[in-house]
Amino acid sequence: MSVEAMYQEIILEHYREKHHSGLREPFGAQVHHVNPSCGDEVTLRVLLEGDQVTDVSYDGVGCSISQASTSVMTDLVIGRSVDEALALHEEFTALMHSRGETEPDEDTLEDAVAFAGVAKFPARVKCALLGWSAFKDAVAQSAAGIRLEESNDE
């Protein structure tokens, strides 16, 4: 597949207009993730209420793939249940590691299917996953924080 095909219009649009970007209050956990070999970085916050992902906000520097992927991710997970959001994380991660041999499910992944082509460029897979991994980590930390609070309440 050609590199031009990897740079789907959707990706470039999200790169230009990052959705939900900028750090917001309130939040349950904040994480900082880095792709050390290239220097892409993202600071990401999540706010969970009950089992719902109420907000995801972020501030990042990086290439079109990492920025667009984070933007698309926020569109997908905000307003979902934590379980649904983590299932999406898993589905997207699997797609990225498929080397392009999996047919992405547009019904669940929506705009994120545009990244299917990235799976053919192993060096860029990390870029596409940066924001998603940060999200998963932040959810885990936030949930742990909630559990901690709960157990402290006891």
Binding site: P36, S37, P122
Partner: protein, 425 residues
């Protein structure tokens, strides 16, 4: 004569160096515990990498960079699979086993202080002694050690009597297979004991992984070190395996490119394992070569290799037993015993023939063995000798090479008996 569970002649044909001659004699390479020979397949994998796919890894993301990174990480996965590691990220590539052991000492040592004890054994290779001595000096911790029995096995009774492993024990670092005595140590049992008192267990598997099917879980260790060049791989690469959750808590050792997360002039954070421990450009082509070596070993089958080694060791011990004046240093039967056999040799009138001289005369007949203390001087001290001659076998060793050794040793005795010594007595 023992027969290999594989076509030995065909296998030997993969190792062109084995066809070399020394003067009029065919080479009998019996120094594999020192370094192994390399099959064509490994050498070709390295050459192909350089000539077709060479680039830096991770940081280079163009086509060549992606290819090199993929080969490099595939090698990591191959090594992980070879020793039954849970995940490739448990494999840290170092330059050799020595660096791996230094890394272990340095990173584990960040937690040590006076009163803590480090336990090794008197049969260790210098590479599993000196790093711990340096650590003890730095931290004020105390270095203690297992002694050996007359048969050349760890003296577990004495260790128990001395309460060697106790609440103060922070680290136990032991060799799996001795490079001199050949002893296979009960590392899992000792690891369990060490874990019971909260100590961390390091195993020097430099002589084990090349010879024995390895499952890290069965060894019971937390960290394991071994080296590429003794297992058909290239020089310039070693391995530190660690339980991932342990590695994740350890501080870095060498600082530099690619082991970092964020560097500022004010301070830095570090990447997760394994990269945290791999500063700078890693041994890329060497990893590719080691991956090929592991593939070769798997192709032959580690069970078959261990069986061949076992057979040959028995044969070697038997042939050596026939030689008068020869004393084997380790266990004299091929039970819990690897394929390195060290010995001393004396003339009929009791003069010790120095291992250098033994080695030199054998060499003149094409038989390559090692003479010296084999980087285990404390063990030789303990045995009351200065040095020894060591023969060691591997998957490509043929019984005829052992015969050449046995005949050569007879010649060595005759040579030294025939000269001055006798006349002067």
């Amino acid at each position: 004569m023992p027969e290999a569970g594989y076509d030995l002649a065909a296998l030997r044909a993969d190792f062109p160096i084995l066809e070399r001659r020394v003067g009029d004699h065919p080479l009998a390479y019996l120094d594999s515990a020192n370094t192994s020979q390399k099959p064509r397949q490994v050498v070709e994998a390295i050459a192909a990498h350089y000539l077709e796919h060479n680039a830096n890894v991770a940081r280079a993301m163009h086509v060549l960079g992606a290819e090199a990174t993929e080969s490099f990480e595939a090698a990591r996965a191959a090594v992980a699979g070879f020793i039954g590691a849970d995940r490739p990220e448990e494999i840290v590539f170092t330059k050799n086993a020595s660096e791996a052991l230094n890394l272990a000492a340095h990173s584990l040592g960040a937690r040590l202080g006076p009163g803590d004890e480090i336990v090794v054994s008197v049969m260790e290779h210098h590479s599993n002694i000196v790093p711990w001595q340096l650590l003890a000096q730095r931290t004020g911790a105390t270095l203690r050690w297992f002694d050996i029995t007359a048969e050349g096995r760890l003296d577990l009774e004495r260790a128990a009597a001395e309460n060697l492993i106790n609440e103060r024990t922070a680290i136990v670092s032991l060799t799996w297979v001795s490079n001199v005595l050949g002893t296979v140590n009960p590392v899992a049992r000792i690891a369990a004991q060490a874990h019971a008192v909260g100590a961390t267990v390091v195993v020097d598997a430099s002589q084990g992984v090349p010879q024995l099917p390895t499952r890290v879980a069965d060894l019971g260790a937390d960290l394991i070190a071994f080296t590429g060049h003794k297992m058909l791989g290239p020089t310039g690469i070693g391995v530190l395996w660690g339980r991932y959750d342990l590695l994740a808590t350890l501080p870095p050792f060498l600082g530099g490119g690619e082991m970092i997360e964020v560097v500022t002039m004010q301070g830095s954070t570090y990447a997760p394992p394994p990269h945290r421990f791999e500063a700078g450009t890693p041994p890329i082509a060497q990893a590719v070569g080691l991956g090929a070596a592991v593939g070769y070993l798997r192709g032959v089958g580690m069970d078959a290799i261990a069986a061949h080694e076992h057979e040959l060791t028995g044969y070697l011990l038997g042939r050596l037993a026939e030689i008068e004046g020869l004393r084997v240093l380790g266990p004299t039967e091929a039970v819990d015993r690897g394929g390195a056999v060290a010995f001393t040799l004396a003339t009929r009138d009791g003069l010790d023939i120095h291992p250098h001289d033994v080695m030199q005369l054998l060499d003149s007949r094409g038989v390559a063995v090692r003479g010296g203390h084999h980087c285990a001087r404390p063990l030789h001290d303990r045995l009351g000798i200065q040095s020894s001659t060591r023969a060691s076998v591997y998957l490509y060793t043929a019984p005829a090479e052992i015969d050449a050794l046995a005949e050569g040793l007879g010649y060595v005795r005759t040579f030294f008996e025939g000269h001055s010594f006798e006349g002067h007595r």
